[in-house]
Point group: C2
Chain length 240, copies 2
């Protein structure tokens, strides 16, 4: 089990307001674990025996209904706290986390949570903030799905992904991990067919550039316009 250097994590929100010595102590209790692309960090319904901090990589968090319907809840990027089910008094993980690319996370035993927040109150504040902003995001998503057309929702989803995990490339902004049309469909509450059609239409307009599990935003500005409800791009439909 590798020990982690403080410098890697010192300026993450979770460690803000802690002295170097305290940071070291926290780190001493954690294990660092590698996850290969496609492997799961924890599974929906499993005992929530650890909580995590993602050091490197990207995770896809998904929920499956009893009927087998899958939904992508969100993506986790490096620096984020996740799997804090125990902190919310849940005994089991409510979703599955899968590594979208090879990733590294720190893991603490859930059982330490109570003791840690008693000792470091800023930890609780940090967790509260994490969960709070997650709640805001999720509520925003409800409103989006309720009130917007599919095309706007897809535009929003891509912009959010780009903001969270965008990498500048010559052609524009590339989403920094493999993501399929199916994934986007599951994020926006539609079908992969519709997503594919929309992306094709956008590609022919020069808004985006696609590929297998790969998306580059070429004109974020115009996408933003679409997301806000400007006239939609014509998705090829019956006609002359």
């Amino acid at each position: 089990m590798a020990s982690v250097d403080r410098s890697l994590v010192a300026n993450l929100p979770m460690f803000a307001g802690l002295s170097p010595a305290e940071q070291d102590e926290l780190l001493r209790e954690a294990r660092s674990i590698r996850y290969t692309k496609g492997s799961s960090v924890f599974d929906q319904g499993a005992q929530a025996d650890r909580f995590f901090l993602l050091l490197h990589g990207h995770l896809r968090v998904e929920k499956t209904t009893p009927q087998g319907q899958q939904t992508v809840v969100r993506y986790v990027s490096a620096g984020e706290l996740f799997g804090v089910a125990q902190a919310m008094n849940m005994t089991h993980y409510p979703a599955t986390s899968v590594a979208a690319v090879d990733s590294i996370a720190l893991a603490w035993p859930s059982s330490s949570w109570q003791r840690l927040i008693a000792k470091y109150p800023t930890l609780a504040a940090s967790a509260l903030q994490t969960v709070g902003s997650r709640l805001q995001d999720t509520q925003a998503r409800v409103i989006e799905i309720s009130n917007e057309q599919v095309e706007q929702r897809v535009a929003h989803a891509l912009l959010r992904l780009a903001k969270q995990a965008g990498k500048k490339v010559d052609a524009g902004i590339e989403i920094d991990f493999p993501i399929s049309r199916q994934d986007i469909a599951e994020m926006t509450g539609t079908t992969l067919h519709t997503v594919s059609r929309i992306l094709s239409a956008w590609e022919s307009e020069g808004l985006v550039e696609g590929g297998r599990q790969r998306i580059v935003l070429r004109d974020a500005h115009r996408l933003q316009g679409l997301a806000e409800g400007e006239e939609a791009i014509q998705v090829r439909r019956r006609g002359p």
Copy 2:
């Protein structure tokens, strides 16, 4: 400003794990405020200068988009903590809270939050749990809107309302505060027209009993079936 008796609140989750003396001290810092039906406790976008505990009544929490689209985020029942924006490091309230019936709440200044959680760590834990379960609910709602037909969503919404604020009456379970078709539409991401049609169909099947801003579930069991995707009730459509 009325002072509040400890016995009214002692067994709420927020006060769990505190000694009577500590409870009294917390209460001493709070003001009790009455809100008449239809008045707002706080408005979306306003400075988040207080956080609250609902003592009596029901609140509707709603968000409005810049384009004027409204969505009912949730209903707050007595005993719940709300308006804890500050605790999540937000300076402004993200939504509006309106009294659905005459209500009473305790209010603390947001500025006390940091001091209070430092002194009473269980408060932070309690808030974390509140926000956490709110997050779970909201995620469940995303999945519902994404994967279910309108009729199932309405069934789910009614069952949830009944569980949270149901009152047993002769005819079945009545939702204990005035709620319009429009409200239900805003909870389920549909239109009041569609909600009205569905409720009419259900009423003629004896599943529910409607009225102006009033709904009674007569057959929660069958509704549960609908919510889970059993064959839908035929909403009258063109035909022989």
